[in-house]
Symmetry: C2
Subunit: 200 residues, 2 copies
DNA sequence: GTCTATAGAAAGATAGAC
DNA sequence: GTCTATCTTTCTATAGAC
């Protein structure tokens, strides 16, 4: 997507269509999404969607890329000289304690999109890729901590998978229930777990 | 559902419809589910569905109850005199190391159904209820361990929420990616976490 | 590139015979 | 209770003018 310099341009028709799709998904969910409903969120006409995308399927695949790119950009991690702070930084970005309405919306949308991976191989590959990248990021931070001697010599990948599972589980809980206290409890417990297991 | 003695009867038309809906959901996912596709999995005709249920929506609400009841029955926990074994028992039922194809299907279906909770209040309440019950079960087991003096005096609810988040996160990963090793890693890490935190 | 109009298929739902 | 036939609405997608 970032290959074409115009692709990310604000106001390009393709971007407007992606934004309209985003709004339609938030309102109706994936199972209630239709071309007409996307057009309802779009300034131009329904048939103009078909000028830019060959089919609904084609549009949805493009949206998947769009949404995944945005998500990964929003989680992008800067490394500091404090691995524990880096870890907490990733956790806060993936599961903010006080999410804005927009953060809530994005995560709800991702949970909804992700469920399509149950029956659609293309979605499956994308979300496997996301998880793989996140585990890689987490593993690298943990290994840096081990190298610097501030962390215990744990199995970094195993701990990273544990952290990711907690984050994904809490993210799903937040998007699909009103058990906000559960999210807080999971986050607190996760921090104390990392403190116990990593800090020497 | 268990109020009416005939409701659970094998071979009752309502049960056949629920089974047909189950198969249609496995094949097409929630977003691809239609009355015609349910009828395709059903011995009788499409219009007979409307004799038993007023609308697609009505049928789906009934199916939600059916599926949740089956899930909760499959997770039902017997208590022993070994709290750690009870805990591992719940974990193994919710996230089996070697799931059968049927267990895989049920969990994939639950992940798919759950995503409807993002935009449908009725689904939201159901899944909040499921999580609440599971946390209660886990909390009780942990508190029993504390009372017996075999567990440390931890915040039982907090640990229970942590465990549930790992289980839900790994369940979603299993249903939406092919990262089976991630599930194994999360389970191993979860066990060692419980051992570290609980065992005195 | 965007529009209006519409084709053609599939959706949810009902009528009326048996 | 179940059937076939059919209605209406909604859906995806295209034709053709501008």
């Amino acid at each position: 997507m970032a290959v074409d310099p115009d692709a990310d341009e604000r106001g390009s028709t393709e971007t407007e269509i992606m934004e309209a799709t985003y709004r339609a998904l938030c309102k109706h969910g994936y199972s209630g999404l239709s071309i007409s409903r996307i057009a309802d969120e779009f300034e131009k006409s329904k048939s103009s969607l078909y000028y830019h995308y060959d089919s609904k399927d084609d549009l949805l695949v493009a949206f998947l890329t769009f949404a995944v790119d945005r998500f990964e950009a929003s989680v992008a991690t800067e490394r500091s000289d404090d691995p524990m702070a880096d870890l907490e930084g990733v956790i806060e970005r993936l599961l903010p304690l006080r999410p804005t309405d927009e953060q809530r919306q994005i995560q709800a949308l991702l949970v909804d999109l992700r469920s399509q991976a149950v029956t659609d191989e293309r979605f499956r590959e994308r979300f496997a890729d996301i998880d793989e990248r996140l585990v890689t990021t987490l593993t690298e931070v943990i290994e840096r901590g081990i190298e610097r001697g501030t962390f215990n010599e744990v199995d970094a990948t195993r701990v990273a998978e544990h952290v990711l599972a907690v984050l994904n589980g809490a993210m799903v809980a937040r998007a699909t229930t009103d058990r906000e206290a559960a999210v807080a409890a999971a986050r607190v417990s996760l921090s104390s777990y990392l403190d116990t297991v990593l800090r020497r």
